[in-house]
């Protein structure tokens, strides 16, 4: 570890300031979107969650250094995300796929 100079510290301070500003903006955006007079409730929900996802990716990419992380860690996370989507998607699909009533079988 050769980086002992205060310059690195300053550079990080600037970066952190930017990240914090982004997260605060994203949060306020979320709140605003939830109060916005959007007739379709689904669109409002989608807007809020998109803002949340942006916020989260900023945190993951810059604060958790995912942006420059190793392939191995990405692989693990990619599988995790696939399984997470599988869990959420398939269980919701199952709960929505209800057998419809069919005509009774006539003998």
């Amino acid at each position: 570890m050769s980086e002992t100079s205060p310059d690195i510290f300053k550079a990080y301070t600037r970066k952190c300031g930017a990240v914090f500003a982004a997260v605060v903006c994203g949060t306020l955006l979320m709140v605003a979107a939830s109060y916005a007079p959007i007739a379709n409730h689904k669109i409002a929900i989608a807007l809020v969650l998109t803002a949340a996802a942006c916020n989260a990716s900023v945190v993951a990419a810059y604060l958790m250094h995912l942006i420059g992380e190793r392939k191995m860690i990405f692989t693990v996370l990619a599988f995790t995300v696939v399984f997470f989507i599988g869990l959420m998607g398939l269980s919701i699909w199952a709960s929505q796929d209800i057998p419809t009533v069919v005509a009774p079988i006539t003998r």
Binding site: L87, L90, A94, S95, D97, P99
Partner: protein, 604 residues
């Protein structure tokens, strides 16, 4: 390992690694992966025996409903009180035995044995590491597992008894049974999940980070791949069950209604709950773990069998890469098949088709692995020692278990077979003569590494043949019973539905089907007796077994055998380097029929 002398380096005294640790640090709070592995192994074997005894008592009750248990009856009454009045198992007690048999066998016996014991002991040895990546977490993992086991065990003795709703704990049934045993079960599960989380993080990190120089991914023994995949399953499939466990715990203690629907009536009265919950949600979250869990049970077993087959056929495994990709394929697809346990929940046809498809797909890698192992036998000069016998028996037994699973994967066939004894027969063939045989094989195989002595061959073979025969006596008739429509979880062995009770009704179970209960009972008793030689052999051989000729008595290639016997703290005398693949047996043109992985290429 650094050689130090205390006299020369008084400052080094602070470093506890260099001092001979006392009893507590050596055997109870050890951070040595081998000691932890043995701790896991012994504890899990005790639970295995305990779970077996629960089953024996249940089998008596099934075959002889309402009759006092011979020998153990009065003991049971003294221990548990009214639920075992006159030594007869009451339906409530039968239910808690059933629930706890499943829970103990899966979560406290087989998984800790397959992953906790074998994974801990062998993975660092086989990859040439001096310990696990996080030794202290490893110790905590065992202790949390032990605590979880205690919590489960204690629940038998609380008022109301242990959990009674099956190892699946489906709400609202699990909420309606008036016992705190369910709360104990849930808290115990949270402990066990935490323990397996620590263990799996440890194994994965160890495999990724601590492989010896030269030990590339495709030079890893298949056993390590199997443990690696199984650990990933534990890592990623268990947390949703932890979430579900927390929610059911909230239902139980904080009065929430996560899994309790509106309008739920218990005992004829409307339950005092807020409602709005979904019982199916529990099933989704439970099976999201519990199906991958099946592969956690079987993958390490396949790993053990591969090592033993390669070693005792004296030739490389056939299709090493297929085995590896097969294991990884199983691991991946196993996350996407869970709802084939839920065809009967009123599931729509589209989603059912999806899960049928994935279920059929997952049988492909399983068949690939089994085929590779079978092909490995071809042309080998097979040594028929006890571990090899168990390994050879594993193949057809697991085959039966796997193939009988296919009809359960189709929703049409499953509608008839669901919740019958057919299901019990199917998964027990996978786990009992499948995984447990592999675990026995592993014990006989690695015993000389642990102790420097062989286990007795003669009694080993007696153990093998009697176990094999009685296992089939126990589980084969269950397929017949299941096809006839005999339901599982009936404390009277389905006598209520037989023509003994309802004469002349079409579809009632025949007396032959009911009579098989008695056959199974004596099969189970025989199976129990067959384990006596094993238990005696295991302990007797520690000090009296025939001494192994060398550190590598089976002439094996993998790194676990290139250590002193038993391996000291730190495992290897000098850190090993790896120069070749894991199964270089009978390489033409060499003097010996095996070349250890750490043997440098001959200078030309």
């Amino acid at each position: 390992m650094q050689a130090t002398s205390h006299a020369a380096h008084p400052a080094a005294r602070q470093d506890t690694h260099h001092e001979a640790p006392g009893f507590w640090r050596s055997y109870v709070f050890s951070i040595d992966h081998k000691v932890i592995g043995i701790q896991y192994g012994l504890t899990a074997l005790c639970f295995l025996l305990f779970g077996f005894f629960l089953m024996l008592m249940m089998r008596w009750q099934i075959a002889h409903p309402g009759e006092a248990i011979p020998l153990l009856g009065s003991f049971l009454q003294g221990l548990l009180g009214d639920v075992a009045a006159n030594g007869i198992i009451s339906p409530e007690l039968y239910n808690s035995f059933g629930a706890m048999h499943g829970t103990i066998m899966v979560f406290l016996a087989i998984v800790p044995l397959a992953v906790g014991a074998y994974g801990n002991y062998l993975v660092p040895l086989q990859i040439g590491a001096n310990d696990m990546a996080f030794p202290k977490l490893n110790m905590m993992s065992y202790q949390i597992y032990f605590l979880g086991g205690i919590i489960m065990f204690v629940s038998f003795f609380i008022p109301g008894g242990a959990a009674q709703s099956g190892w699946t704990s489906y709400p609202p049934l699990s909420m309606s049974v008036p016992t705190d045993g369910q709360t104990f079960w849930l808290i115990g599960m949270v402990f066990l999940i935490t323990s397996s989380l620590l263990g799996s993080v440890n194994i994965i990190t160890t495999v990724i980070q601590l492989r010896a120089p030269g030990l590339t991914w495709m030079r890893l023994p298949f056993f390590v791949w199997a443990q690696f995949t199984a650990s990933f399953l534990l890592l990623l499939a268990f947390p949703p069950l932890e979430a579900a466990g927390v929610m059911q715990l909230m239902d139980k203690v904080a009065g929430t209604s996560f899994f309790l629907p509106t309008g739920l009536a218990v005992g004829g009265n409307l339950a005092n709950i807020s409602g709005g919950g979904s019982p199916l949600l529990w099933q989704h979250l439970f099976w999201f773990l519990a199906h991958p869990e099946v592969y956690v049970l079987i993958l390490p077993a396949m790993g053990i069998i591969s090592e033993i087959i390669a070693n005792n056929t004296r030739k490389p495994l056939w299709g090493y890469k297929s085995l590896v990709y097969g294991a990884l394929g199983i691991g991946f697809v196993s996350f996407l098949v869970w709802a084939h346990h839920m065809y009967l929940t009123g599931m729509g046809t589209h989603i059912a088709t999806f899960f049928q498809t994935t279920t059929m797909i997952i049988s492909i890698p399983s068949v690939i692995i089994l085929t590779c192992l079978l092909m490995s036998l071809w042309g080998g000069s097979i040594r028929f020692n006890t571990p090899m016998l168990f390994a050879l028996a594993f193949l057809p037994m697991f085959g039966i278990g796997g193939l009988t699973g296919l009809p359960l994967g189709f929703s049409v066939a499953d509608i008839h077979l669901h919740d019958t004894y057919y299901v019990i027969g199917h998964f027990h063939y996978v786990v009992a003569p499948g995984t447990i045989f592999a675990l026995f094989a592993g014990i006989y195989f690695w015993f000389p590494k642990l102790t420097g002595r062989y286990m007795n061959e003669y009694w080993g073979k007696i153990h093998f043949w009697t176990s094999l025969i009685f296992m089939n006596f126990v589980f084969m008739p269950m397929f017949v019973q299941g096809f006839s429509g005999m339901l599982r979880r009936m404390s009277d062995g389905a006598v209520q539905y037989s023509d003994l009770k309802v004469e002349g009704v079409t579809g009632a179970l025949s007396s032959t089907v009911i009579g098989l209960n008695n056959f199974i009972l004596w099969g189970a008793v025989g199976l129990g007796l067959a384990q006596i030689p094993f238990i005696i052999n295991l302990f007797w051989s520690i000090s009296h077994g025939e001494e192994a000729e060398s550190d590598n008595p089976w002439n094996a290639t993998t790194l676990d055998w290139q250590t002193p016997t038993p391996p000291p703290h730190g495992n290897f005398v000098t850190p090993p380097s790896v120069y070749r693949g894991p199964y270089e047996y009978s390489v033409p043109g060499t003097g010996r029929d095996f070349i250890p992985q750490d043997e440098p290429p001959a200078a030309r």
